[in-house]
Each structure stands twice: as C-alpha cells, then as structure tokens.
C-alpha cells in the first residue's frame, strides 16, 4: 500500500461528495470513510443529482475566497428569495489575486446561501442553492 495511492484516494474523496471509498493493492485493503459536516446531503445532491438536469446546487469551481459583493461597500450580488436568470453573477471566488466570477447556470430563485462572505471554500464546496 503506497502513500501516493492513498493520497490519490483521499484527494478524490475530498474533491467529491463520496463518504466511503475502498481500494485494494496486493494483500492490503484500505477503506476510507467520512461524515460530512452539515451540508453533506445538499452537496451530495449537487454532484449526484440527475445528470440531465442543470443542478440546483452552486458549487465552487476552485479553492479560494468567496466574495458575495462586487466590492466591500456594494450590495451583495444576490440574496435569498431573489430571482436570477442564466448567466447572472452570483459571487466571485478569489484565488491568488485572480477573481473568478461564478454565474448562474439556471433561472430560478435563490433558496439559500450557505457560505459567508470572505470564507475559504474548497473545490466543489456548496455555495448556494437555486430552486
């Protein structure tokens, strides 16, 4: 069982919503499980949802810092209850001085925003949901 294999397994789990993984190499079997804090069902749904439909879950495309407002003094991009159209900006993820705009992939109403302004988010972490 080498560390690179294990690392790859952990990474693939961390970057996904899987809560259990198993791998075998020679005589060794490794089983890895985790419980997801709070948002796990939403997040799982975000990834495991019906593939033909645009997901109602907005996840972060990269590891970075969330900005819910275009600038510190400006109002937020969106608020719960607000209607959004396809392509409408939802938030910005900042990484290493580069600002990545996250836009809506569906039309609908903002249901919930599950992260706070300025928080660090992982790749694939749930940001908000759109009904």
């Amino acid at each position: 069982m080498n560390l690179a294999t294990i690392k790859a397994l952990i990474d693939s789990m961390a970057g996904s919503s899987r809560t259990e993984a198993e791998c075998q190499e020679g005589a060794w079997t490794l089983k890895l499980t985790r419980t997801m804090p709070g948002t796990e069902t939403l997040q799982q749904a975000a990834r495991d949802g019906v593939p033909d439909e645009v997901s109602s879950q907005v996840v972060s495309p990269l590891y970075g810092i969330v900005h819910l407002q275009p600038s510190p003094d400006a109002p937020p991009f969106v608020s719960p209850g607000q209607k959004v159209a396809i392509g409408e900006p939802l938030c910005v993820i900042e990484a290493m001085k580069v600002f990545n705009h996250v836009t809506s992939e569906r039309a609908g109403t903002i249901e919930a925003i599950v992260i706070g302004n300025g928080e660090e988010v992982e790749v694939g972490q749930l940001l908000m949901s759109i009904s």
């Binding site: 990474d11 590891y63 970075g64 990484a95 290493m96 990545n100």
Partner: protein
C-alpha cells in the same frame, strides 16, 4: 542621527522571501521575529524563527499591510529593525517613516529615496541629471496643449507611448503609432490615470518595439559609497510578470555594461541612495533606456548572488546596521552564468491559479543548484497571496552548462497535488531562441500563442 545597531530583525513578509531573509539573519547571528497571518500559521519558516507572532487574518490588508500591527509587533518582540522583503510595504515611504519614528531601523532605502523613485517623472528627471540614459521624451508631465504634445511626438518620432505618471506594471499606458490616434490616446490615458491613480499626470516617451529588459543591481551604504553588482536579463515576461531571469545579460559588450553600471553608481551617490536598488532598462539596438528604479530587494536577486558570490541580503542588512561597504568595485567579479525560474502554483496552459495542498515535492540538487522555497510535501498553498511557491536557481561556469543544468533540474523537479508552471519552464528552456539568448520582452507571449509547447511537452520524452 547615529543609526542604532540592532540584534533582532522582524521580517514583515511571508513565503519564500521571509525564509530567505531569515536565513540571512541566522547566518549573521541575528535573532529573528517572523510575523504571519492566520493563513500562514503552518508555514515552515514560522517554526525556524526565534519568535513568531500572528498579526491578523488571512487578507493582506489586515495582516502584512497593517502598518500599526507590524510596528507594534516589532516593539513587543524587542526587534530593532524591520525587513519589508518585496511587495507589500517594501516601497511604501510612509511605512519607512513610521518605522523610523518608532525608533526602529527600516532595512531599505530612506523614505526620500523611495518617494523620489516612486514617481516616474521625478525619477526620470533625476536620472537625466545623473547621466543615466533614458527613453527619449521630456522629463516632465505633458501639459494640456494638444499642439505641443503633437509637436513633441513628432520630435521623438512615432511610435510613442503615453504613460500615467503614477502607473506601473503595464497599467495606464497606451502606444500611439501615428498622429491620427494621438488625441484620443492622450485623453483616454489621462482619464485612466485620474481614475486608477488619483492623479491625471501623463507623460510621453519613445516606444521601443523589440527591447530586452536589462537591469543593474546596485548596493549603496548611504555614506557616499555605492557599487554595481552586474547585470540581469529579465526579458521573458508574461503580462509584465517575469518568468525566467539570468545573469549576466548576454550579447552586450562589457565596456557598454560597465559604462551603464558606472552611471547607476554615480546616480546612487548623487541621490544619497542607501541599501539595495535595481535600475531597470529597456535595451534596443545596443542602446539603454532607463524605465524605473526598484528601491528594494528583488525576486531575481539570487542570479546576481550566484555569479558574484555575494550574499545580497546580508549586504543589505549590513548597510542597515550602519556598516560602511567593505566591498570595493574592484572586488566584484562575475563568475559563470546563472538562471532563475519562478515556479508558480498555476495551470501552465490557462494560467489559472492553483492553490491547495502539495502532495509530492521533489526538489533537484547537485552542483550549482539552489532552491529558495518555503513549501514542502503536505504544505497547503493558500489562495490569499501570489502564486510563486519556489525559485529554482542554477549556476554554471558557462551559459551553456548553466542552461543544461537548468533543463535537468527542471526534469528532476516534481510537484504534485497542485498545478504548476513547471511544464512551461521545461519547454521554454529548450526553445532554440532561449538557448541562443537575447530574446525580447515580447518573445514569451508570442511563444505562448504558438502553443506548440504543450504538444511538445506531451509527446516529448
């Protein structure tokens, strides 16, 4: 004022340069205080320092740029000096004043030095006075009279470039190739300058089409004595970000570069300059044109260290300690050739940043190979700061040997878990033009556009 000696240095920076400064302090027997943001608490150099203080949350504005917190941290830890590194507050004259007012030593130039060189027009005026060659164009801001500007452009000869006086790093500048476009360019740049930099001063210069970026490293003791430590070529740039640097600059006659070096030294002495500085030039058809002076330690300082054998950071600290320069110009020799690759956590094709956990970290070694990095296997590259995670520096007796060593070192280097620009470097150092030497500042971007390198990389060995 007699400058107080100090025995403890607060390092007001992060990442590889914080570790670089720590290493210099330790080699001199000085004590070190490292300050860090919450995002950097698990950085390796934090544990190596004699003292470490958390100065705030991850955003730089609340930590590495917080002047009050830094001065307080220095006072609280008993540090006698602050080293600002590069970036952050390193070229902030107000911070330098504040440090000195707190009775501490600012390891860098005087506030006046920083201010003089921070304004491009005043810097150019001072350089012309000191006999440093500048880009053709007046050493003052343009006034609002269009006809005068038009006559000036005619006198300089098209193409010309219109620049905001407070700009830099490629922002607030506009190239004009013929008279038809001049009026718009003037008003647009003036408006941009007003918006971006709060001052509408703009100036005009000759635009150079295929220049190389050549720079001269200087070191001055602020006591009337200055040295130049050779040249560097930092032409390979993408969006004004340097990627590959070398020392010395190739294909420049020694007597030409010596003349330029001597002028830089004369300018330092005239300015009463103190500490490290870099005179940046564009060079085209053998002629040098001053563009700006950086009043701080630079990312690419190691290539100069490799060819001169001088620990530049140590010298910088000695000057701050009030020591007169022990070196004389005749002591400065240049041995062999050195390269530096900036290794960034970014996608080598899209340049998208790639912070995250480094799962594998294998560094090259052997003769002439130097690694400056704070990273390690298991290190999480934070998303809050810039993407440079390591510098690979390689020296050889000839440029040829250095370049072959560099190619091998890049092959040996392996970083996993995040994306890096290593594949880009591996391809670029094998490019025939790079091997030949002397590419201009546009070469890297045009080479990237051809995009053949990715194929080479994937199909190559």
């Amino acid at each position: 004022m007699i400058r107080p000696a100090f025995t403890k240095v607060l390092i007001a920076n992060r990442g590889e340069i914080a570790l670089r400064i720590l290493r210099a302090c330790k080699s001199m027997g000085l004590h070190t205080v490292v300050v860090y943001s919450q995002a950097d608490r698990s950085a390796s150099y934090v544990a190596l320092a004699d003292q470490a203080l958390c100065i705030g949350p991850a955003p730089a504005s609340q930590s590495y740029l917080d002047q009050t917190a830094l001065v307080l941290a220095a006072k609280a830890s008993g540090a006698g000096a602050i080293h600002p590194g590069f970036g952050f507050l390193s070229e902030n004259a107000d911070f330098a004043v504040r440090v000195e007012q707190a009775g501490l030593v600012f390891i860098g130039p005087t506030p006046d030095n920083i201010r003089d060189m921070g304004d491009k027009i005043s810097a150019k005026r001072l350089m012309i006075e000191a006999g440093v060659p500048c880009v053709p164009g007046p050493n003052h801001a343009l006034d609002f009279d269009y006809d005068k500007s038009c006559a000036l452009a005619h006198e300089i000869g098209y193409p010309v470039i219109i620049k905001a006086a407070g700009g830099g790093g490629g922002k607030g500048m506009r190239i004009v190739t013929q008279e038809a476009g001049l009026r718009d360019a003037l008003s647009l740049t003036r408006e941009e300058a007003r918006r971006a930099f709060g001052a509408s001063d703009i100036y005009m210069e000759k635009y150079l089409a295929h220049p190389r970026h050549i720079e001269i490293q200087v070191l001055a003791d602020g006591k009337g004595h200055a040295l130049w430590l050779g040249s560097r070529d930092c032409s390979p740039q993408r969006r004004h970000q340097k990627m590959l640097e070398e020392a010395p600059a190739v294909a420049i006659a020694p007597e030409i570069i010596s003349q330029i070096g001597a002028r830089c030294v004369a300018a330092c002495e005239r300015l009463g300059y103190r500490g490290l500085g870099t005179f940046e030039f564009l060079m085209e058809d053998g002629a040098f044109f001053f563009i700006e002076m950086n009043t701080r330690l630079q990312v690419e300082h190691p290539v100069t260290e490799m060819v001169t054998g001088i620990d530049i950071v140590e010298q910088q600290i000695r000057v701050a300690l009030g020591e007169p320069l022990a070196l004389r110009q005749s002591d400065i020799s240049q041995r062999g050739h050195a390269f530096e690759c900036r290794i960034n956590a970014e996608d080598p094709e899209t340049f998208a940043p790639s912070p995250g956990v480094i799962s594998a970290w294998h560094m090259p070694g052997g003769p002439g190979v130097r690694i400056d990095s704070h990273a390690f296997a298991g290190y999480r590259v934070p998303p809050h700061y810039d993407s440079m995670i390591a510098k690979l520096i390689v020296h050889g007796d000839t440029r040829d040997i250095a370049l072959r060593r560099l190619a091998l070192a890049l092959d040996e280097m392996n970083i996993e878990g995040i994306k890096t620009n290593l594949p880009l470097h591996r391809a670029f150092v094998r490019d025939p033009q790079v091997i030949a030497g002397g590419v201009d500042i546009h070469y890297l971007e045009s080479w990237l556009k051809e995009a053949s390198w990715t194929k080479d990389q994937h199909h190559g060995s």
